[in-house]
């Protein structure tokens, strides 16, 4: 499987120590990683720059939950989003999305090996132009 070089990933996680681990692991995997710590900054980041994947916590300061997902989607309608949450909505992914574009829910604590496999799958073909 040919891997694209350095797909661009945005991490939005208010737990800085967790964000740092994710950043380290994803960078080691070969992703090009940007990190924000609140929802509003994440939306601003996707408006300023394009990303191949957004990995975000659901309950972050600034803008959270459904509003955050909608904010991201407004700029990048079809970007795959991985939502990490300690408290997934009862209705699952459907509660957050409804529009086109992939949205995956990952429960915390994260299984990184599983997460990174999905990240590669979702960004296949990305980053190569």
């Amino acid at each position: 499987m040919a891997r694209a070089a350095h797909p661009k990933v945005l991490i939005c996680e208010d737990e800085e120590i967790a964000a740092l681990a994710l950043e380290t692991l994803l960078a080691d995997e070969g992703f090009s990683v940007a990190v924000t710590h609140d929802g509003a900054a994440a939306v601003a980041a996707v408006e300023a720059d394009g990303f191949d994947l957004v990995i975000t916590d659901l309950q972050v300061p600034g803008l959270a939950g459904r509003a955050l997902v909608h904010g991201l989607r407004r700029r990048l309608p079809i970007v795959p989003i991985i939502v990490m949450t300690g408290r997934p909505p009862e209705e699952g992914e459907a509660a957050l999305d409804g529009a086109e574009g992939t949205l995956l829910l990952f429960k915390k604590p994260l299984n990184f090996d599983h997460l990174v496999a999905e990240a590669w799958r979702l960004t296949r073909g990305a980053g190569s132009g």
């Binding site: 120590i17 967790a18 681990a21 692991l25 959270a64 300690g86 408290r87």
Partner: protein, 540 residues
């Protein structure tokens, strides 16, 4: 008769006088008519004084003794004149008769003279009819008194029975000359409470009937009651053979009307069961609060757990590579995050512990922040903006049990969140109300004020009055215990503070409820008090 005749003849010469019978020409019929009439009249007269004497002797209460004596003399004298009239029929002793008549006249005059002034007194003497009436009235009065006395006896018996059988322990204590308190009376419940024979306790002193530790407290309270004449009310834990009991005691000093303490009326009620029930309710409410917080706690736990998991992956992947410093960093993070989890667990444990610990000094803002930390994520999840405006650096020092205070803030936050979410869910499209909750704290003089304000529409006026009543809830069955705010009220009261609720911005989109907690500033931080120490908050 002859001897008396001779003696009279000597004293009063009768020479030349004819017996009176001569005047009657010794006519036998006429003679005997006079003899019989005078003799019978005389004898009758002689018998009357006897009656008078017997009467005055037996009824000295009549008060006419000497008048009766005068009467007796008068009648005796009259009788004598009649008998002498018989005598003079045959013997012309007219001198003797004259002298006796003169004496009779004297006695008669005297009697007549003293009798006249007696007339009003005699008239004033009640007649037997009047006496009967008075007697009847008296009799009636006596009967009525009997009835009252019997009622009094009944009443006394009733009260004695009431005293004896009432469900509270009752004592009366008297203060002896040495200032010691001695049992005067006690009822059955009191004897049961002391597990002793009732009869043997009368006259015993406090220290003789109560364990020392209990007696010391009672004595102090008794003295205080005697000193200021005010009722003392207190709760006391009394150790017993089968566990300790809590007694609620009221001491009422009774004085002698001049302000000197005479005796003490003591009522004591065993409130152990009520206390236990209260403890249960408090515990239940705390556990309900833990339930309220559980989602927030789960999130709080998942954060460090997530960090541990990710850093464990980092460590595993770096193991065996030259980047040993990253392995070290990962392990350090794992240790730190494990510690963070332990703190959350400790906090939860404190929350669900039965004993909230002793009253201590704490920062109200710090306790509120703890509550916010646990509940904050809930607000994010519900898309509610939670604004926290709490000063840091022990600006809001208070005295109480921090866990309980935190429980209050958690409850208020949960209510605020529910109110905002419920209003948002019911809102029409296009007129969505703001979704925000603000927690703020400040110091106003010697009072610490914390407010939790929401945009949940406010509290209906009919609910406002009952808000802090136990078991009052507006939430659907299974959602609220109705204890949350009642417990909040009790907790804040135990800190000598108060909690109030109001609706702000009523009628607008911004309408919401504002709960204000006002608690006195910790004693050692008040103006004019340099000393440390905790407040005398009531036990909860």
């Amino acid at each position: 008769m002859r001897v008396l005749g001779d003696w009279l003849t000597t004293l009063f010469p009768t020479d030349g006088l004819a017996p009176h019978g001569f005047c009657l020409a010794w006519e036998p019929g006429l003679l005997w008519l006079h003899v019989f009439s005078d003799a019978l009249t005389g004898l009758a007269y002689y018998s009357i004084p006897v009656v008078l004497i017997v009467l005055t002797w037996k009824r000295r209460d009549l008060g006419f003794g000497w008048v009766a004596a005068l009467f007796a003399a008068f009648i005796l004298a009259c009788g004598s004149t009649h008998l002498l009239a018989v005598w003079t029929l045959w013997n012309p002793d007219y001198y003797v008769q004259g002298v006796v008549k003169a004496m009779t006249a004297a006695v008669s005059m005297a009697t007549a003279v003293v009798l006249w002034p007696l007339l009003p007194r005699a008239l004033a003497t009640p007649t037997p009819e009047q006496m009967a009436l008075v007697n009847g009235a008296l009799q009636k009065e006596i009967e009525e008194k009997e009835v009252v006395a019997s009622q009094l006896r009944d009443s006394e018996q009733r009260y004695a029975s009431f005293f004896e059988n009432v469900g509270e322990a009752l004592f009366t204590f008297i203060v002896d000359s040495e200032g010691r308190f001695r049992v005067e009376m006690l009822n059955r419940k009191a004897a049961e409470g002391l597990a002793v024979e009732q009869a043997g306790l009368r006259g015993r002193s406090l220290r003789e009937i109560f364990p020392d530790a209990v007696a010391v407290v009672l004595e102090e309270r008794f003295r205080a009651a005697c000193a200021d004449g005010l009722v003392q009310e207190f709760e006391q834990v009394v150790p017993g053979a089968d566990g300790s009991a809590t007694w609620h005691t009221i001491v009422v000093p009774l004085d002698d009307g001049a302000g000197r303490p005479l005796k003490l009326l003591v009522t004591a009620r065993d409130i152990t069961a009520r206390k236990q029930l209260e403890d249960e309710v408090l515990q239940t409410s705390k556990l309900a609060t833990v339930g309220t917080m559980s989602a927030g706690i789960a999130h709080e736990m998942s954060q460090p757990l997530n960090a541990i998991s990710l850093w464990a992956t980092v460590a595993r992947r770096k193991l065996g590579t030259p980047e040993t410093s990253q392995v070290e960093q990962a392990l350090t993070v794992i240790e730190e995050q494990a510690l963070r989890m332990r703190k959350i667990i400790d906090h939860m444990r404190a929350f669900s512990r039965r004993d909230d610990g002793d009253i201590e000094a704490f920062d109200a803002a710090e306790a509120a922040s703890q509550a916010v930390a646990l509940m904050g994520r809930e607000f994010n999840a519900a898309d509610i903006a939670l604004t926290v405006d709490l000063p840091s650096g022990d600006v809001l020092p208070v005295s109480g049990r921090p866990i309980q205070f935190e429980q209050v803030i958690v409850n208020l936050l949960a209510n605020a969140r529910d109110a905002v979410a419920a209003r948002a869910a019911a809102a029409q499209q296009g007129s969505e109300p703001p979704r925000r909750v603000t927690v703020s704290g400040e110091r106003r003089g010697e009072t610490v004020v914390l407010t939790v304000q929401d945009s949940g529409g406010g509290i209906p006026p009919d609910v406002l009055g009952r808000l802090f009543e136990p078991f009052f809830t507006t939430k659907p069955l299974g959602r609220g215990t109705g204890l949350g705010l009642a417990i909040c009220d009790r907790i804040i009261q135990s800190m000598d503070g108060r909690i109030t609720a109001e609706t702000v911005e009523a009628g607008t989109l911004d309408a919401g409820a504002r709960f204000s907690i006002e608690v006195p500033l910790r004693r050692d931080r008040r103006a004019g008090n340099g000393e440390g120490g905790t407040s005398e908050s009531a036990d909860l």
